[in-house]
Subunit: 207 residues, 4 copies
């Protein structure tokens, strides 16, 4: 149930109202921001958006799917990165961007928390979350790391997937469990513990 940008081939029949779609996504994100998952139901979204419940069921299968769509709509561009930066700076920028998103953009943080929670009992939603949120972001990070390996900035023997988990999972973990504050200093704290970047000296010998 990802966000579709194609406006459909335009056959017969009344065309889908774009105002409706927008209102629904906004209502879902607003509700989840204010009251979390508990405030989220097909009924409450429909009421808030001024829309019929049937219209919701027509296009989405669950409240979680709507929130995920709203989430993807509002933050799809955050995964870009500067190709000229060093691997370390690029990874740090990604981590920083994620933390900023979670701390400065309340709706996004609430939406991620809610969708992750709902995914526990909704396999389709779990799949969509993985495919449309985590996978693109992990691929960007993986690209950065692989480019760093090729350029000698990153040690070639690292496990890329484990590295991404090592650096990014703590951010999600703090967002979900809230056992410690989530702030910008976390980036440096984590990177200081990571030994995947090659030291200046050995870098000359590689390549």
């Amino acid at each position: 149930m990802p966000a579709e940008s194609v406006p459909a081939a335009r056959g017969p029949g009344r065309p889908r109202s774009s105002r409706t779609r927008t209102a629904i996504l906004a209502a879902a994100v607003d509700l989840v921001t204010e009251g979390g998952l508990a405030a989220l139901s097909m009924s409450s979204i429909a009421a808030r958006a001024g829309v019929s419940r049937v219209t919701l069921y027509k296009w989405w299968s669950s409240p979680g799917a709507i929130v995920l769509d709203g989430l993807l709509d509002r933050s799809h561009s955050s995964i870009e990165h500067d190709p000229s930066a060093s691997a370390r700076d690029a990874i740090a920028a990604q981590m920083q961007a994620l933390i900023t998103l979670f701390t400065d953009d309340g709706p996004t943080a609430a939406a991620i928390r809610a969708v992750t929670a709902r995914a526990e009992s909704d396999a389709q939603l779990a799949r969509d979350l993985r495919e449309h949120w985590h996978r693109p972001r992990r691929e960007v990070a993986a690209d950065i790391l692989r480019r760093g390996i090729r350029s000698g900035e990153v040690r070639p023997e690292i496990d890329v997937e484990a590295t991404i988990d090592l650096l990014f999972a703590p951010i999600y973990h703090r967002l979900l469990v809230d056992h410690a504050p989530l702030g910008p200093e976390l980036v440096d704290q984590l990177l200081a513990l990571f030994n995947g970047f090659a030291e200046p000296a050995p870098r000359l010998t590689s390549t």
Copy 2:
């Protein structure tokens, strides 16, 4: 809503049935193992345990609280460690134990997933989960690290909290998001990326 071990002051009236408590916790864990959060409700637990719904409300405030109680009952002993081991071995053992718990003990994995999900919209449950599950385990890890610092095995400039997140969050993240398999090899993959252990010999010999 943590597990109470004190048998209550024993006033007048019919004493609380321990058989009932056991049956309720077992029913909750069974249900969550079979069907996740979706299968879990006060009604379904009461039906499975052969108990009145009112009894549940008398002692717990939500299905999540019951599952958490069941979870704590069945795995409270898993956080012990051998004081004679090296810091690295002790940390690795903790990580390994957690992974084993999640991969070999279906009920525990299901319960953690469910309680974490429910905690998104239940502040009290979130607090109990942090206090009774995460905090004791983090304290054990913190002890190991601090002892390592004192003995010179662990670099003293590390941030202990960030270190615990770095090493354990990936395990929870894989359990929840399921983007990559959760297996015993993850321990070595993660530790290989961690530079917090002071190494007598030059790192170049590792590989």
Copy 3:
């Protein structure tokens, strides 16, 4: 789904609220009086009675069943008759009573119309209507006729069932189709066309 007068054996559990039952039956009859079948739904009855829809489903299976119950509650006594009257007078009284019920008691007329209409597509309701409304009334009429036969007032060769249809069906037909006014004069008009009563002369020869 007939009206139960037995107050149930009184076991454990909260006893059924009699106020609720009364309010539901009244609401159903009121609604059908004001707007006919179209105004009648489980939802509208529940709203009018200030009661949860679930409570309705607990005790009745359809709006029609509720109206029938209300109907039986309000007019169960109308089928009595004076055993000392002549057969002709007793039958006339029954016919008159039915017409009066339909013309003077709007709710009853509306309820009978609605239940008969709904019975077209609800076999259980049709059965209940036959058993609890029509059958008792037909039995009273049959008793009168059979007593008349024994006393010589009624010709013995008549078909009792056909006679009851002949005399009473026109009343229901006018109520339902409304092709001609339903008034007290109909009783004499119909009886004037009926030849089932024995003439005064032959009466002496019988017995």
Copy 4:
């Protein structure tokens, strides 16, 4: 909403498809035969007829109106009678024809039952049913009775409307309430109880 036989003034624009009308009426009657009123909806008729719902709304206002149209289309000719027969035979023939229609022609019986039921909450449909089904049939019966009065076969003091109800209402009543079988023997049973025919010989000889 009666059947129009005039092919319309033929203005500009695409003419109405007669195939469509036929398919719709057939679909409505089929549905009502199979499942009664409950199976009848604008949606189900449209689906069965392979037609758009909008087309239905263009020409009819309700499912009941469609069924009535279908009913009138299929049985308009059944009210003719032989002018040379006696009044008694002619009335008996009308009664017999109605019973035969209801017992041998399932679709017609189902349609009458459904339309009568729906008419309870649809004043326009009730009017159309009276005007286009009952009134023509009652007029034929009234003609027979009035001709009988003129010829001396029928007693002049009878109330014609009441007589028609007396003889025909039982047939509709049995069709709707189904409290007793509807069969050809009913005609003689009813006529034997009717004293409206002037009899030359003394009634005692009948038996």
